[in-house]
Point group: C2
Chain length 137, copies 2
């Protein structure tokens, strides 16, 4: 039996966040001590590690809830789990592509500033004048 603090130390998930996950239905309401404090079993530790991992991978609370529901039915086809992972992958790739465009543009903006005062600062001019951009966005 782990206290909420134990769980937090073992998974790296902060204490209020664990309570939040419980509230959101990702963790089931655990047993309580006589004094009403949470006491978690090993299964809950593992589930929290799962949640942590999935969050690190950028899955939303909702996606994680779906996966947890899924994993409760070991007999179902895993196409859904596969789909969630693939969707996540697609969204990550999209975000990367978008950020790389920004990187390019910021690079140009941030390295070309030769002015001495704000009046002729390239950063501010570039932000004001879209036409200085390398490409559309």
């Amino acid at each position: 039996m782990y206290s909420i603090g134990d769980l937090s130390r073992r998974t790296g998930v902060k204490v209020p966040t664990i309570r939040y996950y419980e509230q959101m239905g990702l963790l089931e309401a655990p047993e309580r001590s006589e004094g009403n404090q949470r006491r978690f079993a090993k299964a809950e530790l593992e589930r929290l590690a799962f949640i942590r991992h999935a969050r690190d991978l950028g899955l939303t609370i909702n996606s994680i809830r779906q996966l947890i529901d899924l994993s409760g039915h070991a007999d179902r086809p895993c196409a859904d789990a596969d789909r969630i992972a693939k969707e996540q992958l697609a969204s990550v790739r999209e975000r990367i592509a978008k950020l790389q465009k920004l990187e390019e543009e910021l690079e140009r903006i941030a390295t070309c500033c030769t002015g001495e005062t704000v009046g002729d600062c390239y950063v501010i001019r570039a932000l004001s004048d879209h036409s200085l951009c390398g490409h559309e966005h």
Copy 2:
């Protein structure tokens, strides 16, 4: 003089978002018609385009406010503007690096699922068992 809808159409910023920016102090409170509707001058159109551009580049409202304050003092050294742009560039690069790690891992997870049912689904096992990961995170 532009109505809020004109401004919205010209900049691509939604009407409620324009009001939100005003509330946040990014746009100054504009003149009003006799019937209390906002009437924007050209300067405000330009400022909104600036804001839009900066938001597209991922700058926070706070950073944008700083840049706007800065641009009001054309005589100041532009080191601050430069710093904001560089910080933004660094944060974008960080985000890209992080996402690329996720991409790698999701790729592995999403493409290796050969199981037919959730019981032996690689996606769910990989999320449960951190040790299946290619690298630390």
